[in-house]
């Protein structure tokens, strides 16, 4: 690939990261100009105590110096302390990272595969009952608030049918290890994963269907048919690979939303991930945790964007040469 294309994209991403870092600092500074005042309001602290706390939080310094300190600490992985638990924000994030990656990552991958296959099928059978029901299904699930779907599925399959647990990561007090622990966690994850998968499918299905229909009218497909290839061959070897191009971009982009994608759904299923951490931080509010999460969410989207651009440039020469 053209090195200039890569360099331009990478510098662009670094610039955006720098912007997000600065934005993150000033946004939360507007809310909470003096955390010491807000935290210890009405506690009758002596002036020396206030001074020492202000020094600890660094709020006595001029804004520019605070900003420099903030940047340096963030780059060292120090995101400050949670107001609620007094634990380092980076620890709070690390604890919740894995459950979210596991849950939303699974749902994203599943919906990608199912949605794409559904889209190919619908486009190939354009105008039939299969097509219109697949499109209707996608449009309806796409229009649903994901947390409402979570509520309905929870009521139906966990409360009434009792097929699945109502929430959590594993059975309370579980000491299981190995395979039985994995099965227990998978059982807990099933319902939230189904919810998210249903919520995501529509986007892939609709895009893949549209992309297939654009491809179907291309000359090289006419040629493939004229050569006498069977219908399934034309679809598999000529239509699908070309139609997949926009899907690759969308998928790479959506992996950036894995971390922040399930805030309300995680809250409903008490899934101990980043979404529930965000939900918990809203009460209070626990601004240092919110700030750290917001930075992480933005950074992951920026990185995914960069990967999508590079992947697109690699797969489609028109992009990298223009």
């Amino acid at each position: 690939m053209n090195p200039r294309f890569v360099v331009a994209k990478v510098t662009g991403a670094i610039g955006t990261l720098a912007f997000v870092l600065a934005f993150n600092f000033f946004l939360f500074r507007v809310v909470d100009d003096n955390p010491v005042d807000n935290l210890f309001r009405g506690r009758n602290l002596s002036p020396t105590q206030i001074a020492s706390l202000e020094e600890r939080f660094g709020v006595g310094d001029p804004l520019a110096l605070q900003f420099v300190k903030y940047v340096r600490q963030t780059l060292q992985g120090d995101l400050g302390l949670s107001i609620k638990s007094s634990r380092p924000v980076s620890d709070v994030i690390m604890d919740s990272l894995w459950p979210t990656v596991w849950l939303v990552g699974t749902a994203t991958a599943l919906s990608m595969v199912i949605g794409t296959l559904l889209g190919i099928h619908a486009a190939w059978k354009r105008g039939t009952v299969t097509d219109s029901s697949a499109t209707a299904f996608s449009m309806i699930t796409y229009s649903m608030p994901d947390f409402w779907m979570a509520m309905v599925l929870l009521a139906a399959f966990a409360i009434n049918l009792r097929w699945f647990p109502t929430g959590g990561f594993e059975d309370a007090g579980s000491t299981a290890t190995g395979l039985s622990a994995f099965l227990d966690q998978a059982h807990h994850m099933a319902l939230p994963a189904i919810t998210l998968t249903l919520g995501y499918i529509g986007e892939y299905m609709i895009l893949m269907r549209a992309s297939m229909l654009d491809t179907v009218s291309e000359d090289y497909l006419q040629l493939a048919r004229a050569k006498g290839l069977r219908d399934t061959e034309v679809r598999r070897r000529h239509a699908v690979p070309n139609a997949l191009l926009p899907l690759v971009s969308l998928s790479a982009l959506n992996f950036g939303y894995v971390l922040s994608g399930a805030i309300a759904v995680e809250a409903i299923y008490s899934w101990p991930g980043l979404g529930r951490a965000t939900f918990n931080a809203l009460e209070g509010p626990d601004f240092p945790v919110l700030q750290g999460l917001f930075l992480l969410f933005s950074a992951s989207v920026i990185v995914a964007n960069l990967l999508a651009d590079l992947l697109n440039g690699y797969l489609d020469p028109r992009v990298r040469l223009s």
Binding site: F23, M151, L282, V301
Partner: protein
């Protein structure tokens, strides 16, 4: 439309302006005719009209006091749907039907008002960037790039938490976080319009920038902005719903999302009080679906390349 009809016949009473308006009316008539033939679009429009009428006549159907827990003290709590309470009651004895009716007003208001803000900011930025170009364009596009990359929902959540729970704050939050998409589309359209002959002709004849933007650029980007606005409303409504569910909604103006949050926190799921959480969700789906169907149809009608996809 034929080119001939644009020519002003010498000696006729038609002014250039009236000719232009006649042409625009005819173009709008053509779009409407195509819209009417579009089954999905008409289904969406009928749903939207029904919900709008419902939202408008709500004060005639039910009194606002039905939303207050104090005024509902005499009602049974958690009553399932019956003759007295069409959609049952909640944990405080309030009628779910009354909440549903008033919720439609807030959800629609937030959706439409936020979209208007998105359209105003987005088209302003898009027209300025596309028409002026140069460093103004670079700065504005860089800014919109940044806003596109910052994950939208977390940003909206943080802003809403900072500003506090009121529907105006939610409208503001959705507006300032969602304009870049409209800005980019408008800019692209303005850039291509600038190259068109009629704009060059106007410039050659000495027309001012103001005249060109108002008479030639805006009327031509307006349909595209309309299609995008129609597609922005469902996103705005869904965002409001999620914000309200996360506890950032306005409790004095309960929306459908707020009522879902109250249902959830009151334990409607574990009590199997389906009448409390199903109506608001179905209302949201209906409105979001209807706007999406209308918006996609408009897009299809205005962009002939998309017609293949039907």
């Amino acid at each position: 439309m034929s080119e001939l009809s644009d020519v002003v016949v010498p000696g006729s009473a038609q002014s250039p302006r009236s000719v232009a308006w006649a042409r625009r009316r005819r173009a709008a008539g053509e779009v409407w005719a195509a819209f009417r033939r579009h089954r999905q679009a008409m289904a969406g429009l009928i749903i939207l009209l029904a919900v709008t009428v419902m939202a408008l006549v709500t004060p005639l159907l039910a009194d606002r006091t039905g939303l207050s827990a104090v005024d509902s003290l005499d009602n049974p709590v958690w009553a399932s749907p019956s003759g007295d309470f069409f959609l049952g009651t909640d944990n405080l004895g309030r009628s779910v039907a009354v909440q549903f009716l008033y919720g439609s007003r807030t959800s629609l208001l937030v959706g439409v008002a936020a979209t208007m803000l998105i359209v105003v900011i987005g088209s302003l930025v898009g027209v300025i960037a596309g028409f002026i170009g140069g460093w103004v364009d670079s700065i504005l596009m860089r800014l919109s790039d940044w806003f596109l990359v910052i994950p939208f929902l977390p940003l909206a959540i943080v802003l809403a938490r900072i500003l506090g729970p009121s529907i105006w704050n939610i409208i503001f939050v959705i507006g300032v976080t969602s304009w870049p998409y409209v800005a980019r589309i408008t800019r692209a359209q303005v850039l291509s319009l600038r190259q068109r002959l009629f704009v060059e002709r106007a410039r050659a004849l000495g027309a001012s920038r103001r005249h060109i933007v108002r008479q030639h650029i805006l009327p031509n980007v307006a349909p595209l902005i309309l299609a995008n606005a129609t597609l922005a409303v469902p996103i705005a409504i869904l965002t409001e719903t999620t914000l309200a569910f996360l506890g950032l909604g306005d409790s004095r103006n309960p929306s459908w999302g707020k009522s879902l949050e109250e249902a959830y926190t009151a334990g409607a799921i574990t009590r199997n009080a389906w009448w409390y959480y199903l109506p608001a969700g179905i209302g949201i789906i209906a409105v979001v679906l209807a706007f999406t169907m209308c918006g996609r149809a408009l897009e299809e009608i205005l962009d002939p390349r998309l017609r293949e996809r039907r």
